[in-house]
Amino acid sequence: MRTSHRFTRTTATATGLALALTLSACGGSSTPAATTPAATASSNASTGATATTSTVTVSDAWAKAMPDLSTSRMTAVFGVVTNTGTQPVTVTGATTSASPMTELHETVVVNGEKAMRKVEGGFTLQPGAKRELKPGGDHIMVMGLTSPVPVGQKVKVTLALSDGTTTEFDAVAKPFSAADERYDHGSGHGGHGGTGTKSMAPTPTDSATPAPLATSH
């Protein structure tokens, strides 16, 4: 799948920013909360700044509740991200109040099954565009939860943007039990938590004809 390649159309600075976040995320247990201002950032931006007026808004945000961390310490944040500005902007990273490690993820089809992986370069939105982060699609992956996330708790999320601004929103934790996609990454983070192993796509019995979906109940 060449899905990730569409995210490479960003400024060099943003790409460098994304890489910086990537490297620090893989290597250590904490992700810097600050964003490095891009060359075109407004003069108000500074390292560790709270949100300046951002053109990116997030609505209908929610997180998968994790009231019990015994089987998994990961969760995900979803919502609708809108670029209300006149310039393309890239969501280059995210931090949350729930854990020190957050990544932007996309869902791709690998060997006929949906799988998730980190998005290199972040999500780019054209002016006026909306991008829905949803189960089975793009989302914000939250790893290394430090404490349970019960239903109803608000997770504070901060998105880092390529123009040097940030945008903050609350994601309310909701029960969610649909199948988790397989996590596809060579770094050994392991599979996502979740009780189901039900595949969301038909498993092909041969390369030509997908098998019918099993109706198992």
Partner: protein, 420 residues
Amino acid sequence: MTTTPEQPERPRPASPSRRTLLGGAAVLTGAALGGAVAGHAAARSGVAVDGPPAGTATAATTFGAQTVAFHGEHQAGIATPQQAHGMFIGLDLRPGANRARLAGMLQVLSDDAARLTQGRAPLAALEGDTAATPSRLTVTFGFGPGLFTAAGRAAACPAVIASFPTFTTDRLEKAWGQSDLLLQVCADDPVTMSYAARRLVRDAAPFTTVRWTQAGFVNARGTEADGTTARNLMGMRDGTANERDPAQVDQVLWNRDPALPWLNGGSQLVLRRIRIDLPTWDDVEPEAKEISFGRRLADGSPLTGHHEFDVLDRHARDATGFLIVEPNAHAARAQARSGAERMIRRAYNYDDGFRPDGTADTGLLFAAYQADLATAFVPVQRRLAASDALNTWTTHVGSAVYAVPPGAPEGSYVGATLVA
């Protein structure tokens, strides 16, 4: 399927009158218009058509898009004109409930209700097609005594709800008894209602277990004109005595107890499951039915009046000096003796199917809202328990009472005035 006057084609297998309509007429396209013409033609030729011809239903005759506002001073589903379907779900709190967890639960459920009632899927639902026909969906929350205790706010529970009396005719079954939390889910469309109930209970599941579900119905929308008082399964118009003037409705419904400021804009609900022996009632002569009820079957008019909304006069006597309405007629016994006895009745029929012996489990989910149960339902039910002709056929087998919080403003949630 296109014809034009300039293009006479070989005869179609349609009625001649259809072709007459088409002659010189505009081009026909699409099955819908063809269907309309066929139906119209059928009508012109005197052929009976079952219902409107296919394709003639327009947006004006469908109700699925109609909504009732969720946010506001009062919760919806109380003064709202009654929807065709209603479901009452009694929930009990799991151990470990506390004020903070209750706040979290109520925020999530309120958000779900706010979305569902406006035709949107709740957060975390994978698609929104079923939610897209809200059909006047309302979701109304009620708090039982257990919820106040769990929140550490027992003193905020109205005394009559914390300790609700029993009545001499009660045959209450614990299965239909008091719960900590109530969801009243009503809509004109049963699929919409079922979906909303399912999403709400799903999100409540981390905090609650389900004690009971009581689902009911009145006449389907469109059976009679909107606003017609629905019939119960005894065949009687049910709810005629409700106040209809909005100012009077407000007087009946909303909390006035200064000791419970958190409840201002809220109300109190009694939900009684009334089993009705319909097979026996079916064998009662219509005249006897009307005498027992005090109203006529045909139109719900009181025996002392001519029209449904004529006020029943319990004291009216006929020419020979006898009371026109029997003193123990239901409508006479139930009639409010003072303004404080008034309620807004929002009852739903229930029909839970047949037992092996062929008898049916049927009755009335008697739901009534009032500012104060202690001055309304309690004295009225005492009077009915003491004497009511309908007691021959009706038995109260379930009872639950709730404080009904005020409405939530935008950005807030139902119950915030109690647990926030």
